[in-house]
Point group: C2
């Protein structure tokens, strides 16, 4: 029974459900329309907290298992209280996590064995931009570098899995291609 | 003494230090070159964990007050275990937190009083893209909407503060304009 279970869930991925999900979406594309949400409240100074709980998908309102809360702040060197990572560091977490989830799913679907996946992500940013001191310098990261270490199957297969994950990553797409962002303000 | 302290720290922002930082950077632009980092480890399935601790800035290696860890996962409807928010939800947290930190700093620098800042962020994503079922559909968010509610000073002043925060936000820049991302793989 354990072996059966391992075969059905390589790398901890439920491949049967994964393929069933793809079949279901092919039969009804409305299932694939998702909306994710976060609500944020300013605490003090550069410190704020976001809550992540409800989302829409598969034609229904859904909630995560629990309502999660995440803080963000600036470190002392950037005139904050260092109560949490900076907002831009959460972008690096999102990128690593999205690519890694894809690697696990794709490896499982292809029968590629994964023993270990680790990564480091670095983002270079010149604060002359956000400080308004040089109009030639952008506000955000100039460059982001991801370094993966994968152990398990044949190196070529592992590299192909990473490439396929990159080509289907939601966060990689958003970070490299950008997305329209609208901002509405109720002030008073 | 309390009043003096309140004047020096409107909205919890240490304006004196903020302006001193800008002066220091003007005297030596190398201070403004920062590098942020995250390291990630795959747990199982779509679940991974990132650690955020060290960073480079102000011409030195620095660390946050503590090493933070953040998980990410997919919900059950997306074939995960729902151990944490999805990677794309962390993008929404980063955006809200970055804009809100800017609002607090800019309001303090302008002497604009803030009583309350809350926001909700919604991101629309059609999973036909990442599932590889429609080549016309992108992998990432199609659109992100931020809705702010600000209370405190004159509504026009509050709206101007939000607009200035948008124009100097690192995360808004990255999400709307994109950034080059390189991926290196050590497989074996």
């Amino acid at each position: 029974m354990t072996l059966m279970s391992d075969r059905a869930n390589p790398n901890g991925v439920d491949v049967e459900t994964l393929f069933a999900t793809i079949d279901a979406v092919q039969g009804d594309p409305e299932i694939a329309k998702f909306q994710f949400r976060a609500s944020n409240r300013w605490v003090s100074g550069t410190h704020s907290q976001s809550r992540i709980h409800g989302f829409h998908g598969a034609k229904q309102e859904l909630t995560h298992a629990e309502p999660w809360a995440f803080d963000a702040d600036h470190p002392a060197v950037l005139v904050g209280k260092d109560a949490a990572p900076t907002p831009v560091e959460f972008l690096l977490h999102a990128l690593a996590a999205c690519l890694t989830a894809g690697i696990a799913n794709i490896a499982a679907a292809r029968g590629v064995n994964l023993a270990e996946v680790t990564s480091t992500v670095e983002g270079d940013i010149d604060l002359l931009g956000i400080l308004g001191l040089d109009e030639e310098v952008r506000n955000g990261y100039r460059q982001i570098r991801v370094s993966f270490v994968l152990r398990g199957d044949d190196p070529d297969k592992l590299r192909q899995v990473v490439e396929q994950s990159r080509s289907r990553s939601a966060v990689f797409d958003v970070l490299t291609n950008g997305v329209p962002v609208s901002i509405d303000v109720d002030a008073g």
